[in-house]
Symmetry: C2
Subunit: 398 residues, 2 copies
Amino acid sequence: MQVLSQQIAGAIEKSSWIRRMFETGMEMKAKFGAENVYDFSLGNPDLPPPAAVAAALVEIAGTLDQPLALGYMPNGGYPEVRAKLAKELAAEQECELTGQHLILTCGAAGALNAFFRATLEPGDEIVCPAPYFVEYGFYTGNFGGVLRPVPSRPLTFEMDLAGIDAAITAKTRAVIVNSPNNPCGVVYSAEELAELAAILAKHTAANGRPIFLISDEPYRFLTYDDVVVPPILGIYPYTVVAGSFSKNLALAGERVGYLAANPAMPDVAALMGGVTMTNRILGFVSAPAIGQKILGAALGSEVDVSIYARRRDAMAKVLTEAGIEFSMPQGAFYFFPKAPGGMDDKAFVDLLMAENVLAVPGSGFGFPGFFRMTFCIDQDVIERSGPAIARAAAAARQ
Amino acid sequence: MQVLSQQIAGAIEKSSWIRRMFETGMEMKAKFGAENVYDFSLGNPDLPPPAAVAAALVEIAGTLDQPLALGYMPNGGYPEVRAKLAKELAAEQECELTGQHLILTCGAAGALNAFFRATLEPGDEIVCPAPYFVEYGFYTGNFGGVLRPVPSRPLTFEMDLAGIDAAITAKTRAVIVNSPNNPCGVVYSAEELAELAAILAKHTAANGRPIFLISDEPYRFLTYDDVVVPPILGIYPYTVVAGSFSKNLALAGERVGYLAANPAMPDVAALMGGVTMTNRILGFVSAPAIGQKILGAALGSEVDVSIYARRRDAMAKVLTEAGIEFSMPQGAFYFFPKAPGGMDDKAFVDLLMAENVLAVPGSGFGFPGFFRMTFCIDQDVIERSGPAIARAAAAARQ
């Protein structure tokens, strides 16, 4: 007898490529030894948290003799942490933001789920440029939403704005962008975003129903070559930003993020009331108490990003020497190269796997013909993987 | 233009009584001074965490120089914490449980949401004895489910098993019980649960589709007068248990709980695979890393429950002296008395409010004519509230 719903049973059968690679990686490491497997599959930020995080933990420990020390707080989060974060975001987004315009959430993933629960009617559509973070399909599907990806232009990965314009219907509830992008590392330009905002304003007026612009930006802090991620919150009335401290504070497992709304949004108070409620009723209640307190103490600190910059260069060298085509990531910690020899991406990932190299096929991100390799792994592993990757690429070109 | 979905906009309008009281309480405390308001509205466990929690935090702080110290873990939780918890639950539930039969979740609320996401088809019905924890309607409604409460028998609050039997249809997916119960403090007996299991087995066979028995038991540890909460996981093949450490470790804000399944469930592996996935795609990813580590270190510790026992006695004295009818709670930290003089519960709560006493109407728990008062507040407040409550009761009887 069926214990799972049809949708979840089906989703498990298709499964996520990233998780499948994670599991294959565990098996291969057990078999061949961890040092002989080059695992570029999972984006698990591997730098230790900045020192301010440990200092905050010790300080929190000293307060636990108080009643309610780790008890429930308001569903939007501790007011003083919200206020502090609002000040930082106001500068970053060049927007008059207060603590009333953001809630603390269980990572960016929690922010997106709370937002979709609060705003989607069943059958609503969410447009996104592809390649896209594979979980978006699940987050929207949790509440009856349907993802409508629009392929960007290889190899620059600029958005196909005409394509997005054409994909918007009366059922479109949001467009979601992720910049710096997972998996392709692109940072969308201010000009692209302004054009996108104009398209959304046009359709919102025509539909008589807001189409939200969602900016999912856990990698905003992580760019290279002085690339700046343009502010987005204030460029369009119905913009919301989801962010997290998984990467810059290396807190992925502790689940601290936020959802912020443009203070100039008509009915912004209603939206914030809605997401505050859905933050509660989805079971999050709020972001975890200790994570919130850490954020309050460590906001502004970050991991040593120069380590990621050096790894990016090492990875670029390996790919170049293997004759693999790619565009240099402007941010985040992923390469999204083209499968060599015009090969199918899954077939090429199999060739890599035969060399003990784990990568994720682009099909998993709605973009076949490409593959993703993370560089949040030891630089030594990146450098040692060179010959194996070159052999796989040579085999693909044969 | 409508920024919220119709369902959420409607839910906010109805709002939760508990939250409304919370907000009213804040206003009243600002106006009259906190010491002049008797706030029995919100069940925010107010004892400090046991000393093991602070010790665990300091120990965790010492490990943060390691890569991935707070990074992603498997979506079911850290394997060693799962294994440790499984051992404890196996003893508690008298059931052969391993770490594979439970996942760590964002509190019991996260466990229930992950479970409903994994198992519900839109339109599925969930039966529960009333009074019931008000959030159940939201948790099921998040995924298209519909709650079907069946009133228990006042004042003992024994389940109406014939009524539950009659409420089950082809669309019933689960029955959810909460014991010790919020709001009424009842502990269901082994006999009642066995009879309930037999009813579910009969309908499951008839429907050809499992009807789950969900036991939501964050208060299992908190009983009085040597009452024991009977084991439930093994009494019926399709049982799952949701629990949390919000109350016994005073960690409500840090969000650590679990979902465990009967190891003897047919397809238990499929169910666990499903909830592991929904734990991820709802944005929880897993329980928060620090909370999991605290649990691993502090499991078995608990707050000083004798404090709750003394408060219960003080509260019983206040109610008795006011001439208010109630059944003594066997567990948890709530009284659920009858509104005196046969008065409407909301009207009586208004009378209490006029005396600066905050309580929640039973209508908010699907049980009109009664009201809830928590006793997880200072004993001094309970004792000082006596005259005010007596005045309100006298007014109600006039």
